[in-house]
Symmetry: C2
Subunit: 479 residues, 2 copies
């Protein structure tokens, strides 16, 4: 809704480019009257709706059912699990009054919904036949972030999905995290073209209340790592305090084992924006682009009617074939203005049709990712679009894969050298919390953890302190 | 997720039937730990997602763009419009603390988003070229309701859509409310089969801050009227206090005229549940049913493999044709249990396949709305399903239309007689607030207002007080 179109900052100046592109392409508006709370704008909301739909499909396919729990959690629920409240007590917003009345019990805005949902799990679950129980919701969560906020990356209100499951055994719960990995691969990698690693967090960096925490991490164009989601094996930690028990086949009562899984929709969106975009603005993969094709009529006044008519015909055909297409027939703007607007907003393919094209039975196509233009025969249009879509998606993925840098280091010198290059540094490590803390203080980089599911054999010395290495870890600077 | 299936209350005992069906069919769970806040359960959330999708399509078709504003509104924003704050000050939840800190300024949970959005309108809007500006969001809103709560009908957190628009003139804004009427007709009447009236509220019953308020009202099976949405012409009331001005073609600065439109998703859902359901549970119109067809295999142990194989084949074919179909091959439940579950959950069509059907190349169909069963040749299946879907939707709509009772009355005796019958009573009225107030006190029924857009000529005397009549109004008992 801004009148000033076009980017002024180049992507090589990534931090400023990002701030400009999210605002100008109408992903978000950061000027709301509360610090750290932003307005999701139309381009942002359209792509969020597409991403949520993709997760809806994947989660429902794997037996998850949608729910929506209240945004408020009574204080007594939030406080039930010891580690959990320690992790969140500094971070929650408290509702103390309603109308003119003081509430009998304070309620917080959900920072995450374990303590909202699990009292219900305790009511619902009776028998082993009901397990696994799998539910999810898409919603915003609220955390009183004191660090500097950054649109979609760090804020006090952020959009996510949270899936919560209950299982018979710890192994069943651990298998659920593997399924979560698959869901993520299908949506984030295959559909959105974002490469990521799944990292098992070290003991000292787990979610408050989790037995195991796994984090999905991608690399932004500045080489800095961004956690875009997590999944946690909660074991029996919550089921014991919320008394969630089932009667097993052997008639014995047992505690369920739980997982909580949080695809960070806002951060996934920020990764899509950051990784695929270029100097002119956004570029969306074709299968999630809210508008896949924009048609821009090119005409002088006397040819207007004929050109618009042809454009409308092409529009109708493409729409009937199921493409998400938009005919930009606004007279008040020039074609040049329209090109800039749709390039900024990331529409993968532009079709231009002018009098000469009509005469020759042609249309002009313009790829958003490479800005290449070519003229094709109108009769080949549908076939060509399908081809070009594939090529665009392939190209976006290829470019994105190049950001996923993983260098191998054996000592501090190598680590520091490679950290400058960005991405991950893979190194043998002692798995000692103090060693990691010292390292972080010195380098501002972090030991993120070990690779999910893959036993990578460590030998020799810890690359940081020189003591015997226990694991191969991934080290990175992160948001 | 309850183990006890099946309804115990008949629909003729509507109040208790409703409370049972929303819980048992997993529309909501009312047992959350905060009064008036409920859990949207899987059946409820699936249908909410379908309803929101329908509104997405209609609203985007008419140029509305999706956004999402923060859930919190700073106190100074909420207080800017005088009538608005008077209307809402007793109803909002206040956030006063974050972590261990007291906030400098209190924030409330949005009771509606005029005062969240309009400061941004003032930033965004500069020129007449940007008008109309149309945005919408689907979200929950929060009101500290002190009356008795009722699931989906009256609560402290409810799911809705709110669309907000800005226009050049009052007439443009008034035309927007006509467009809102069309959107409602397309979604609520055509797709969901719910008949409604659009009623212009009298002066004393308008939304706080509105020039005109129009309400969408339907009739539930107990004859009581339910407001399921509203649209308001706000005129310049908010644009003057939030300073939302545009420069017109004549270079003059003018205040925009605004509307706010609130399809009440939770209440629409309650209407769908109430109006279409029967003694066995829910019945969903076919085009919005999360599951349209359930296939239940009927087998003895030795025939299991063959039957399941055939069911899977039919499932695959129907899915490929775009039907939302579910194959219930759970071994742990009997066919009878499955019939009850899917009847309770409102699946419009059931297919049963057993060994005899396979032998004869037949399948058995069962309509949810009439419970009729018939056997057809498998080769006719797709054609028959399309036919039956039409008939089911037609039948649901026809039954629903029968609830939309409108009786004409000329005096108090007739009004009171017809009020017992339920629905609306249409009568000449003096348009005097005191007369309406006395009437409400006496009868517990209300003057809801006049019919939208249709000038119904009043003559003779007010049916309530006998003074000269000014308008034809619609009177009803309401939730």
């Amino acid at each position: 809704m801004s009148e000033e179109m076009g980017m002024s900052v180049k992507k090589e100046d990534f931090g400023n480019w990002y701030l400009e592109v999210v605002q100008k392409a109408e992903i978000v508006d950061t000027r709301y009257g509360v610090k750290g709370m932003l307005i999701y704008m139309p381009t942002g909301m359209l792509i969020i709706k597409e991403i949520v739909k993709l997760f809806d499909v994947e989660l429902q396919k794997t037996g998850h059912k949608p729910v929506l729990f209240p945004v408020v959690i009574p204080e007594k629920f939030l406080k039930m699990e010891g580690d959990h409240i320690k992790g969140f007590e500094k971070e929650v917003f408290w509702i103390t009054h309603a109308g003119k009345n003081k509430l009998d019990e304070r309620m917080c805005l959900r920072p995450t919904s374990e303590t909202a949902m699990y009292p219900s799990f305790s009511t619902w679950i009776r028998s082993h036949q009901q397990l696994p129980l799998k539910i999810y919701q898409d919603c915003c969560v609220y955390r009183y972030e004191t660090k500097m906020t950054k649109p979609l990356i760090r804020g006090r209100e952020f959009y996510w999905i949270e899936a919560h499951t209950a299982h018979k055994t710890f192994e069943d719960a651990e298998n659920q995290t593997k399924e979560d990995m698959m869901t993520y691969t299908n949506v984030v990698n295959k559909e959105l073209g974002i490469p990521f690693l799944l990292i098992k967090r070290p003991e000292w960096d787990k979610f408050p209340g989790a037995e195991n925490t796994y984090a999905f991490e991608c690399v932004l164009p500045d080489g800095v790592v961004l956690q875009i989601g997590t999944t946690h094996n909660l074991g029996e930690k919550f089921s014991k305090v919320f008394n969630i028990q089932y009667t097993d086949k052997d008639k014995k009562k047992k505690y369920v084992n739980q997982t909580s899984y949080g695809p960070g929709i806002a951060r996934i969106l920020s990764a899509v924006v950051s990784i695929h975009g270029d100097d002119r603005g956004l570029i969306f993969p074709t299968n999630v682009a809210p508008t896949q094709i924009v048609i821009v009529p090119i005409y002088t006044k006397d040819k207007r009617e004929k050109v618009i008519e042809k454009c409308a015909e092409v529009y109708g055909k493409l729409q009937a074939k199921g493409f998400r297409v938009y005919l930009d027939d606004r007279d008040k703007y020039t074609p040049g203005f329209k090109f800039h607007e749709w390039e900024l907003k990331g529409v993968p393919l532009r079709i231009e049709i002018g009098p000469l094209d009509i005469k020759n039975n042609n249309v002009s196509l313009s790829r958003r990712d490479t800005l290449e233009k070519f003229i094709i025969s109108e009769k080949d249009l549908e076939k060509k679009i399908i081809e070009i879509f594939d090529v665009i998606d392939f190209n976006l993925r290829k470019r994105a894969d190049e950001l996923m840098i993983i260098n191998n280091a054996q000592n501090m010198k190598e680590i520091q050298l490679y950290l400058k290059e960005g991405g991950f540094v893979r190194a043998p490590f002692c798995m000692n919390e103090e060693c990691a803390a010292k390292f972080k203080k010195k380098t501002k980089a972090e030991v993120r953890g070990t690779l999910f599911e893959k036993k990578e054999k460590a030998s020799g010395k810890c690359a940081i302190c020189g003591k015997p290495a226990k694991e191969i870890v991934y080290i990175a600077k992160s948001y």
